[in-house]
Subunit: 462 residues, 2 copies
């Protein structure tokens, strides 16, 4: 495909500038302060799909943020690829740790990205990776090489659990009918060693509230005599893991699939250096479930992490207070076969049960989703494998990711088609963290690889 | 003392309005945002002492907020009373729980205060109780009944550990020379049953920081494989108490005095209803160290309470992050004989020791102070006993308070004199909490009782 290489060369700057404009809009779906910005982003995505060559583009209203739908049907008898992505982003905080403002994209060179990377919230997750598909589609239209039908479904609530996507998909199965779903919202091992994500973890996200006395109390006058909600919450959180770092919620592991030694041996082949890993994170040691190595702990094993905790006086200086309440946001990563709603219920029941009589506990489920596995013998996987092999010059490795894209299992259930996770990001891109970035190399490589997926998918489907 | 009663009747409204003006200034010493307000409050206190009749009043600069010193020396051969108080206040947060703005004082009637109470931050702790002394002094000047010399030392850093008072006292022992120190910064059992605080707990206040990875991480990609600072901090905090709610820090209890059964029986005579106590705080149950009742847990036993905790995402909605750091503010209430600096060291050593290799821990001591006991056979205590008995018509009960006034032990060490804690507040006054208030009855009763203390102290000193 010499043509695509040339096309990218000629349009490189425009591709980058268009993405930068999109990244300037702070589409933080978790914080209503950004409401109008999220709406504006959906409009910008709509416009980009029209410009790229979709016949029909619509803003589909939901009970939350709208879903942008676009399509190009060239022949009903040809296969159809459904591209899914999201235009919303994670909150930027802690904002003070960003070396440049999260919504003022800048290109900086890094050790891993000598050709430069775009630094901005959403650069990789998922505006950058989503926009690769728009530009790859533009190329296929311009070069008249689009081999099949395309549908785009770009949502604005992925970072808050895709709360309204479920009903949209359920109510539009005909409109969304497809032969394969393509998502670029994951990563690969490195720019030298591409990989395709074949497994995703599920998720259960809850918020807990522990209430002690009905008002904040002076810790001198009451200290020692009443339950301190922070001490109690800490005790309850600590009790959720045992001495082997296994989760203590009754029934939590009942449906966890135990991978065969053979599969674990296969996984262990992926290049990984524990010292580099620790060095990259400034860690003296890794930490996790007994009996599993790092790459298993963050991929094939379920977890329980506190994502946020707060209570009492957190300002400057000292305040001797026993707060009335303490809070925590807790998420559990689940593996295939674990049902997120069942796990949420198990957590809720257990967490309430372990609370001492001296406090009251409230558990509020936020959202969740099931895990997923992509069969490596599917046409979609094979097509992706060929595409990466051709553009990177080396065969991609199938890997299980620890991340979650809850809607993937929903798609399979409602649309009866498999999802291929063609990720081009890197773990070091700091998604969900300060200084998120996306390599120029990765961005352009994605645009170059995607049309090849279409080509091989159509060929293999014949 | 019919005269004082009349004087209070005639000047009641002015006394209340003067205090209200003082309460309008947000002198929050813990938050530098209020810097100028704290300074302005010291000026207001200086002016009030001059108006009340001090010969000499000075603003004494320190490395922090100034100390207001005033004196009235009528005869070097007569005893000298040193009045200590503080003009700074606790932060008002959580501000949303105040029924009226913390720095816009209003008078409201309550069940306990049918004559009304002044609602404002600092109303009781300590502007209201400090100002009683200024008005009592004004009366003795106006009625020409001041029986001895008076010195006032009103500081502006009590709520942040009186960090600069120590050197001020050490460098001014001659200027501060006195026969007894009078402090109204404690409470009494009820308006029907006065009490005098004869014991105070010491305090050690520290801040801890737990660091895991060098940046916030995506909880999907890293969850299960790296130590989550919040989970670890919770585990470490939980481990600081054993199953009997005894503190697990090695050596922590070594110097704790074990009260005789006789003393404990004496204490148990103070009127106390556990059901009322639970009802007032909406508690299903109390909580504390095994083997001790509520009034012992909060008075004669040391404690460890988390006063604040924070880490990760605490905003609206959900963020799947493993934070780089988690923090907590932890305070320990100490009993007489426990040395706060030694305990701070024991905590620091232990907390660092229990940290897993996968994280790094930083412990920063904030401040602290020793516990204290007032002998009930001292002239000062006897004088206070007589004064309360006369104005309340019932003998006050000696009680141990769970609170801390770290500087009391400093005074004894440097100034070689005993401190009498003539408190007129009530536990229900919600000091350090939203809706702090001080009863009009209590305020005026204090002004009425204080001159009697002077009278009896001088008589008993002859």
């Amino acid at each position: 495909m010499k043509d695509i290489k040339n096309y990218i060369q000629q349009n490189k700057d425009r591709f980058i500038n268009e993405l930068i404009e999109l990244l300037k809009i702070p589409s933080v779906s978790a914080d209503t302060t950004y409401f109008q910005d999220v709406i504006n982003t959906s409009e910008a995505v709509k416009l980009s799909l029209e410009k790229a060559g979709c016949d029909k583009v619509e803003i589909c209203e939901t009970n939350g943020y709208p879903i942008v739908y676009g399509e190009k049907i060239i022949d009903p008898n040809l296969p159809t690829v459904l591209v899914y992505g999201h235009y919303d982003v994670q909150p930027p905080d802690p904002i003070e740790l960003w070396t440049s403002p999260p919504f003022e994209p800048v290109i900086k060179k890094t050790e891993i990205h000598p050709e430069g990377a775009i630094f901005a919230r959403g650069a990789c997750d998922d505006k950058g990776q989503m926009y690769m598909h728009v530009k790859a589609f533009e190329y296929m239209i311009q070069s008249n090489t689009l081999p099949c039908n395309v549908k785009f479904m770009i949502e604005g609530e992925e970072e808050v659990g895709s709360v309204n996507l479920k009903s949209f998909v359920e109510n539009n199965t005909e409109k969304l009918k497809n032969d394969v779903i393509l998502i670029s919202d994951t990563g690969m091992i490195s720019n030298q060693q591409p990989s395709i994500t074949t497994g995703l973890r599920g998720l259960s996200y809850v918020e807990v509230e522990v209430t002690g006395p009905n008002r904040d109390l002076h810790s001198g006058l009451y200290g020692g005599a009443v339950a301190n909600p922070i001490n109690i919450l800490s005790k309850m959180i600590a009790s959720l893991h045992d001495e082997n770092n296994r989760i203590t919620i009754p029934g939590f592991y009942d449906k966890v699939e135990d991978l065969s030694l053979e599969e674990r041996t296969e996984m262990a082949k992926a290049p990984f250096d524990i010292e580099d890993y620790k060095k990259a994170l400034d860690l003296n040691d890794v930490y996790g479930e007994e009996g599993y190595v790092t790459n298993e702990r963050n991929a094939i094993r379920p977890t329980l992490d506190v994502n946020g905790i707060w209570g009492g006086y957190t300002g400057q200086g000292a305040k001797t207070v026993i707060p009335s309440k303490a809070f925590a946001k807790i998420s559990m990563r689940l593996v295939p076969n674990q049902d997120w709603e069942e796990i949420t219920q198990l957590f809720s029941t257990h967490f309430t049960a372990i609370a001492p009589k001296a406090v009251t506990v409230k558990v509020t489920p936020h959202h969740g989703g099931q895990g997923y596995v992509t069969p490596i013998d599917s046409i979609g996987y094979k097509a992706a494998h060929l595409a990466y092999s051709e553009t990177f010059g080396i065969a991609p490795i199938p890997v299980r990711s620890g991340g979650s894209i809850p809607i993937v299992s929903l798609f399979e259930k409602e649309l009866k088609s498999k999802t291929i996770l063609m990720g081009f990001g890197l773990d070091s891109d700091a998604i969900h963290s300060p200084n998120e970035h996306f390599g120029i190399f990765n961005y352009l490589k994605g645009i170059e690889t995607i049309p090849l997926f279409y080509k091989y998918f159509v060929e293999l489907s014949k």
